[in-house]
């Protein structure tokens, strides 16, 4: 079917809604990245066959959605209409759920969330502390829709923002509204979105491009993936609105090739939008035409940088160029181009529907709205969280994140990926805000938030990020290419006990030069992880260099493994698993590690059940 006016869209929406019974039982299975990795599709398939077996196919809906956020508890299923939250499901639980909950209206208590503080079970998703303390605006609809269904999207009000824009607003009014909202780029740059749109609108030239940056390369970040997979139409709607405001008729979505499901879901969404007439010529009878193409990345982190992304869209290697002339003036094919991150685009329909005053009432003075973070690492409640700007890091990590597993001590939280920095315990009450994070030597970044505990070596973390960037640097400019190479050499030396005290000055000199003279953001921000760890954890660097010790017990050359005679039972498990044959001992006798043969792989440490392996 094809609609060619706003009225037809509204009629279609009413028609779809009329067919749906809000009280009809529905099993919603979360199909986000975390749950997929835990085989949630097997659970979903089991639900399908069990529902069919009980002849309930017409009476119960089964919907597979995008990410709900609580990855730690996956696979997750929500049973509507009551909205019961079932967690950590396996295929073995399905029969019981269908029998107890679907057929008899009873909850299966062992699968319900239990609050660790009160000991009480919480049936409803919204009451669970992890969700209650969030403010889900962008992620909210993930649980309500099947990403492969444009009808689901329309039923919950999707494309009404587009209708409002095309029916009642002129391009300049849209630009003004987005500027007033205070929306800033969610990819990390934090540039005011409305201002960028306006520069592209004002740039001379007929042909203009609108681009969605879905190259999410920061390791540990999967926000964009979840938005694109879970609610692709929200991103499309934002892009069409942006294209209208800017005066562009051609758009691109550049998706990382490591995200095949995101590519699949946005492809389906675009096809469905084209078939319906939401993309193409004369959208909703407005006279405005716009269409979108998908390009996949080729495995290059640097292509997350706007000029490198555009080079790759031109069929060239992803080499950035200096932005002395902005891409809003000369971008893709030297034409005015507006590039925004996935999350930025997804915020646009919300702003249009609810108004710029509503949006700017959330957040801080300079940072408006919400931000989606991927909360990962040494944290109990791993997953995606969406919070208002201005919330403190402490609230995110402890109130929402549930603190550090095993009762271990918090050490640092890394934000902003390889361009960001580590933030220590003393700064946990920092409100999350573009400027505040930059002030302390980190940055907002795309939203990766990696929590670290006492078992993390900060020098090793610096070395990790530098090695990562070395692999990803395009190699064009000397500061980045040679600077990263030499920083890598120095940090590797330090982690192997070959560091010298002069190395610290050398690190600082290299960092300063890279910040000043690198050609693009990859190089200018590359020193951030090193400088922030040097700043806040200098004593760890000194311990490695001066004392030849790794306080966190991570750097192999600086730690020794030995067997505690008091705890060793002689079970032989460590001997069996040792890949270097470094352990000797008779059955039921205390075993011994030969330090010469030991490669410090840590397998014995992981396999001993008697706490008999010491690491120091």
């Amino acid at each position: 079917m094809n609609i060619s006016s706003i009225k037809e869209l509204n009629d279609l929406r009413r028609k779809i809604q009329a067919k749906r019974d809000p009280d009809k039982p529905c099993i919603t299975v979360c199909g986000g990245p975390g749950c997929l990795a835990k085989q949630c599709l097997d659970v979903r398939d089991e639900f399908i066959s069990e529902i069919a077996a009980k002849s309930l196919k017409d009476k119960v809906d089964i919907r597979t959605t995008g990410c709900h956020g609580y990855c730690d508890r996956g696979p997750i299923a929500l049973i509507y209409p009551r909205g019961i939250f079932y967690q950590r499901l396996t295929t073995k639980d399905v029969k019981e759920i269908v029998e107890e909950t679907i057929l008899n209206g009873r909850t299966v208590d062992r699968l319900i969330y239990t609050d660790t503080e009160t000991g009480k079970t919480i049936e409803n998703e919204e009451e669970i502390p992890f969700y209650k303390r969030q403010m889900q605006l962008v992620l909210k609809d993930n649980r309500r829709i099947d990403p492969h269904s444009i009808e689901d999207y329309i039923a919950i009000g999707g494309y009404s923002a587009l209708a409002k824009v095309l029916g009642r607003m002129k391009p300049q009014e849209v630009l003004d509204e987005v500027k007033r909202s205070g929306l800033r780029g969610r990819g990390g740059g934090g540039f005011p979105t409305g201002v960028k749109w306006e520069s592209t609108h004002n740039a001379p030239g007929e042909d203009k491009y609108v681009i969605c940056n879905a190259d999410e390369g920061d390791p540990g970040a999967f926000m964009d993936r979840s938005i694109l997979e879970g609610n692709p139409h929200s991103v499309l709607e934002g892009m069409i609105i942006g294209a209208y405001a800017i005066g562009s008729h051609e758009g691109y979505v550049y998706v990382r090739n490591e995200y095949p499901l995101a590519v699949k879901n946005i492809t389906i969404a675009i096809q469905q939008a084209q078939e319906l007439g939401i993309l193409g010529d004369n959208i909703l009878g407005s006279g405005f035409g716009f269409d979108v193409r998908i390009n996949r990345g080729g495995g290059a982190f640097v292509c997350g940088e706007s000029t490198a992304l555009m080079a790759s869209l031109e069929g060239k290697p992803g080499e950035p160029r200096a932005k002395y002339i902005h891409t809003s003036e000369k971008g893709l094919w030297d034409k005015p181009s507006n590039l925004n991150n996935v999350e930025t685009w997804a915020n646009v329909p919300l702003i249009i529907n609810n108004g710029s005053s509503w949006f700017s009432s959330i957040g801080t003075e300079s940072s408006k709205g919400t931000k989606v973070f991927s909360l990962v690492g040494k944290i109990n409640n791993t997953g995606l969280v969406e919070v208002p700007m201005g919330i403190t890091l402490r609230e995110i990590i402890y109130d929402i994140g549930g603190g550090i597993p095993g009762g271990r001590a918090f050490k640092a939280v890394q934000t902003g990926g390889p361009s960001g920095g580590c933030i220590p315990e003393s700064l946990l009450d920092l409100p999350v805000d573009y400027e505040r994070l930059t002030e302390v030597g980190s940055m907002m970044g795309s939203g990766g938030m990696i929590v670290m505990d006492e078992g993390t070596c900060m020098v090793d973390i610096a070395r990790y990020y530098i090695n990562f960037l070395q692999e990803e640097s395009c190699g064009k400019c000397v500061p980045c290419r040679e600077g990263l190479f030499r920083l890598g050499e120095i940090l590797t030396d330090i982690t192997k006990g070959r560091g010298k005290l002069e190395d610290i000055q050398l690190i600082e000199d290299l960092s300063g030069m890279m910040k000043d003279a690198s050609l693009c953001g990859l190089g200018t921000t590359a020193p951030n992880p090193v400088m922030s760890t040097l700043n806040y954890f200098r004593d760890e660097y000194i311990a490695h260099i001066r004392d030849g010790k790794c306080p966190a017990g991570v750097c192999r050359e600086l730690i020794t493994f030995s067997i505690d005679e008091d705890n060793c039972t002689g079970c032989g498990v460590c001997l069996k698993n040792c890949p270097s044959g470094a352990i000797t001992g008779e059955k039921k006798q205390v075993h011994v590690i030969d330090a010469q043969k030991c490669t410090k792989c840590g397998i014995c440490y992981d396999s001993c059940k008697f706490d008999a392996i010491k690491k120091e």
Binding site: P317, G475, V478, P479, E482, E489, A517
Partner: protein
């Protein structure tokens, strides 16, 4: 600088090391700076080729205070009202460090040593390597823009970036004109002739290489076959 001033052909006024100067709006900062007789070291820049902005030796400081920043003058256009300083402390420190890194990479290059002497760089604090290419890309641009052959280009990325013919094989497009050797700042590191530091012998392009009819990957100056110094029978 507005579109209108370009159309009217109006000159642009900016501050250069404290002095008010005028420049053609189509110029880069480097062109304007050199026009006024000031010199800035460069490696990847050549007047006859498209500016590249890769070596970053030509950086200058724009503005002052917290918002001051360094930009590559060879690719930054002149603009009305800029405050440009070509030899600030920040700039000099940066240039020295860049050269230090390049010398650590190509430690036997005379040209780099000479430039270092001019910048008073006395110490290289990194482990020296003996590479023979600084990846300035002059040869690539020379081959593409002046000789219109496009026989060589960049491959790989990051520290594995290098310059080569497609598929590291004998190039059909290469006409053995020698322009790449002519323009290369560190070509003496590759020459096998007796006076490499001062004169490239060009033996490699003046001799008819014996092996190209038989081997896939003879690339003349890129990977010297040494036909200029060896007898044909000795080439394996």
């Amino acid at each position: 600088m507005s579109e209108k001033s370009i159309q009217r052909g109006e000159m642009v006024t900016f501050t250069l090391n404290g002095a008010q100067v005028k420049a053609d709006p189509g110029w880069s900062l480097l062109e304007a700076i050199r026009f006024y007789g000031l010199d800035i070291p460069t490696l990847c820049y050549d007047e006859g080729l498209t500016p590249y902005g890769g070596c970053r030796l030509c950086v200058v400081e724009l503005g002052s205070g917290k918002k001051a920043k360094l930009v590559a003058s060879c690719v930054h256009p002149v603009r009305e009202g800029l405050d440009v300083r070509t030899h600030s402390n920040r700039v000099l420190k940066t240039r020295k460090m860049i050269l230090e890194l390049l010398i650590a990479r190509c430690s036997s290059s005379k040209k780099l040593q000479d430039m270092a002497a001019l910048l008073e760089l006395r110490e290289v604090r990194f482990r020296p390597l003996n590479d023979d290419c600084i990846l300035c890309g002059l040869c690539v641009r020379m081959c593409e823009e002046q000789m219109v052959a496009k026989a060589i280009g960049f491959a790989g990325r990051g520290k594995d970036r290098y310059i080569t013919t497609p598929f590291d094989m004998t190039s059909e497009e290469c006409r053995k004109c020698g322009a790449c050797m002519y323009i290369c700042p560190v070509c003496e590191l590759r020459c096998q002739g007796p006076n490499a530091e001062t004169t490239l012998c060009s033996g490699c392009i003046n001799t008819e290489p014996v092996c190209t009819s038989e081997f896939d990957d003879a690339m003349c100056f890129m990977v010297p076959c040494l036909s200029c110094v060896k007898k044909p029978e000795d080439v394996k």
